[in-house]
Symmetry: C2
Subunit: 151 residues, 2 copies
DNA sequence: CAGAATCCTAATAGATACTG
DNA sequence: CAGTATCTATTAGGATTCTG
């Protein structure tokens, strides 16, 4: 998704900021100050979380307010295939966003539920989603203006 | 990316919230109150913006602090091909995130620059990115705990 | 210079059948 | 029930060539 936000001008130094973007410089200082390891890990993490289904699954789990079985998830996450659901749940689990609990009965029962981290990540993303929905009408080439003209 | 955050239980009603998720209910009320059109448009928009290259391109433009020519973008967005850069720029332009200016000289010169909307979207996303980087060590299955146990 | 057009591949998703 | 295994279809993206 986001891919490396660090500036990679050889040394990794950030490009010079002009007046017009000065307001954002602390944000990009943060990008610049990440270590290579942080950058790589965050990048991999977000690449996984921003894939087609993960956030939808987190939302369904949050909505349910209780652990859900595999088959319930398959019903509620409309359009997902069983294979992809399995794959995605495994990834979410290994990232610590959900917990998988196996009850060794016959037939087997498996329940998935959010972790606090998973819930918090979802809330962060919904905040971004809300920001976008509120400005939906602005995302239009006909309303585009140059930064320099606007400041 | 995020895909439909609305609950689609037939009528579109939101699932009942249990105590444990009550804190998030206003956020999900927002999801629930979106119209179908808002949902579809936001979904399409985010699907485009969350693709492999768009945010990287916005960041390079922001970093530059000035309009950049096509060939400069091709250099600075490391790893992108000419075809994909062209495609992505067209999409960003039609969403009002960047402005393309053609100077009809010979040879032709084309400059791309951020719009205020593009800059703001980038900042929103970087905010999310920062939130994630700060919690990077928590994204680990070994640290996962159940929500009910944690609250 | 800034692209358009074409061809090609590599990764993903979907569908289906099978199993502890 | 909750998967795994296998195959096919789709598609994003890369490499190359060409042009106003």
């Amino acid at each position: 998704m986001f891919y490396c936000f660090r500036s990679k001008e050889g040394t990794g130094k950030i490009y010079t900021h002009r007046e017009v973007t000065e307001v954002t410089s602390d944000i990009f200082d943060f990008c610049c100050n990440m270590t290579d390891e942080q950058d790589a890990r965050a990048r991999a993490l977000i690449e996984r979380a921003a894939a087609k289904w993960p956030l939808r699954i987190l939302h369904v789990l949050s909505d349910a307010g209780a652990p859900l079985r595999f088959s319930r998830l398959l019903e509620r996450v409309e359009g997902i295939s069983q294979k992809v659901l399995t794959q995605t749940l495994r990834t979410l689990e290994s990232d610590g966003l959900i917990i998988r609990t196996l009850y060794p009965e016959i037939p087997p029962r498996v329940e998935y539920e959010l972790t606090p981290l998973g819930r918090d990540l979802l809330m962060q993303v919904v905040t971004l989603w809300r920001w976008i929905v509120e400005r939906l009408d602005d995302f239009d080439a006909r309303k585009a203006v140059k930064l320099t003209a606007a400041v």
